[in-house]
Symmetry: C2
Subunit: 347 residues, 2 copies
DNA sequence: TTGAAAGCGTTACCAC
DNA sequence: GTGGTAACGCTTTCAA
């Protein structure tokens, strides 16, 4: 049985192709009887409207691009993807994924060489900076660009961002309020392209500087090389400090969780010996009872997608740029700290 | 600047649309000089070949469907997706994702109602059984179906499956060889649709039965309700047994990891007090030093995608059905067990 | 309520 | 090496 096209269905149902088309796209314009007949025939012939033809005719592609740094397999990227998908799929759009757009070269390649221009209805950019000139290329051909956790940057039609800087400042403030004074911030070295996550470092620094007017804070930023071993690198860096800190601020849970688990093997037990807070509230954070800053990339993906849909539809946005805040989730790895009373020899 | 189509480019470059088309699809047929001219104009006009038109003309859709049970956010599904993507994206295909195809209803909806028939070039089915009749619907219109970790079932053009049953039997055998005799298998209740993962239970049972001829094995299957709380349910079930087991076999790492972490809080320390093995080698398994069975869904996705590409291309497969085996990864949570010597009062 | 026909932007065959 | 032209399968005005 060869594939049936709209003509075959029309013929078999004794109607014109116009009627077949309407039966699927605007059924209310077709009489109930005709509609039933057409549907019955279509079902029998395994017929369905061709999306390619519809797309060509309509000028839309029913496809959006999602650009991300690194792999989709990271927690943040997966959640973001799933959030976008949850809105775009029901709306009839597929997501064309472009991973590892994390160097100026790959990014440039995307914006110029790849057959994207005119071939997606919108572009999502997750977690990295974009060049205003590149944004302009898309705008010239009326392709909306929406950013998710993008650094402040020109040329995006809409953005949904978490306030990384403020979030990390909150986490740091929390540790200071608990009485911690010797605090280390562990993080991966900053990415080449201004990933939004690097703003967290500044949040930590700000909070420490602010507190210095009131307390004697001993703080330190401990960057380690990016890569699969970053948690072990941080572990090593911590264990080779002159003095082990009484609190650790982690750039992300994926750093904090291994640290909690492995520091225990070296005799550093949280919250008994030190406090630690993460950032993300990603898988297993609750299992190990990690105090952390929660963000919800799934929801950010949803919001971004809703904006994209409006933009595709030509509607204006009431709030093109949204900022959401990370929430402190107090759990068991951060506890009040009794400041050591320096030993005073008998007077 | 209005969107330029192929005619605009042809005109501006002083050539015919045929030449413009060839410049992009078969550049070797166009003289270097003409080609350069066309490309220059195309770039200036932001022109690119329309995928929709190409798709319509070619009869292909450059789109494949991926059906999965549950959410893409699970480790297995994300890895599978990423593996398929790593092959299909460079080949010019987008993935249209259908999640939660895990009840007969949603599955039926997919195969009949949704505008899929004739709108994808191939279908991937991950981790659940499919009805031969439904498979036949696709085959009738020449859409290849490729299964990943699908239970043995008719009608799939190709499959890449892990041997779940054998894998879990291996894990169980390992525990028995270590000297464990009181073994519990923790798992989620079987899915309605015959998820491939349920075969693992049988592997456990087989290994125990086999060993009974040689040893006095006290084994038990402990199913708990599916859902987000399944790990805690398993924990509760374990803690309320008459006697705590000396070994635990887990259906998956996502069950094993919380168990290792939380059982410790109740005084059951591995490997001191009991052994435990997981299945998957998913994130943090290495961090907590979990002995587990490794599978590689990313690679299975890749293999499945390679097969799909061949099938789309009309080529026959040398090995349509592949089975891979899970590898035992011995780490720190399973250790030799000294069988308790029953206490004998002084004679 | 239905049908006829134009056209969406390509590709590929056939001339030249 | 290049150009003209007929499809590909649909949507949508316009008429009936």
């Amino acid at each position: 049985m060869a594939k049936a096209d709209i003509h075959a269905v029309a013929k078999a149902a004794g109607v014109s192709i116009s009627t077949v088309s309407r039966t699927f796209t605007r059924p209310e314009l077709v009489s109930a009887k005709t509609r039933a007949k057409v549907l019955e025939v279509a079902d029998r012939l395994d017929f369905n409207i061709s999306r390619s033809a519809t797309a060509l005719k309509s000028g839309q592609t029913y496809r959006v691009a999602l650009l991300m740094n690194e792999e989709i397999t990271s927690w943040f990227n997966t959640q973001t993807f799933a959030g976008i998908e949850s809105v775009m799929h029901p709306a009839g759009y597929d997501i064309s994924l472009f991973q590892h757009i994390d160097t100026p070269e790959t990014r440039h390649k995307f914006f110029t060489d790849l057959p994207i221009r005119r071939n997606v209805d919108a572009v999502f950019v997750a977690s990295f900076a974009i060049d205003p000139h590149e944004a302009e290329q898309l705008q010239r051909i009326h392709v909306p660009i929406v950013g998710i956790n993008t650094p402040p940057s020109d040329g995006l039609d809409a953005t949904v961002c978490i306030d990384d800087e403020k979030g990390m400042a909150t986490a740091t403030q929390y540790l200071i309020n608990l009485g911690h004074r010797r605090i280390v911030y562990t993080c991966s070295e900053a990415a080449a392209m201004g990933a939004s996550i690097d703003a967290r470092t500044q949040g930590f620094i700000n909070a420490c500087r602010d507190a210095e007017s009131k307390h004697d804070i001993d703080w330190k930023v401990l960057p380690v090389a990016r890569g699969p071993e970053f948690a072990d690198s941080a572990l090593a860096a911590l264990l080779t400090l002159d003095e082990f800190p009484d609190a650790i601020c982690c750039q992300m849970d994926m750093m904090a969780i291994p640290l909690v688990l492995k520091l225990g093997r070296y005799g550093h037990i949280t919250p008994r010996d030190y406090s630690i807070v993460g950032f993300d509230d990603s898988p297993y954070a609750d299992t190990i009872n990690l105090t952390t800053m929660r963000q919800n990339p799934y929801d950010m993906g949803r919001r971004a997608a809703l904006k994209a849909l409006k933009l595709i539809n030509g509607d204006a946005l009431d709030t093109p740029h949204e900022t959401v805040e990370a929430q402190l989730v107090p759990r068991g790895t951060a506890a009040p700290f009794d400041q050591e009373v320096p030993f005073t020899p008998a007077a």
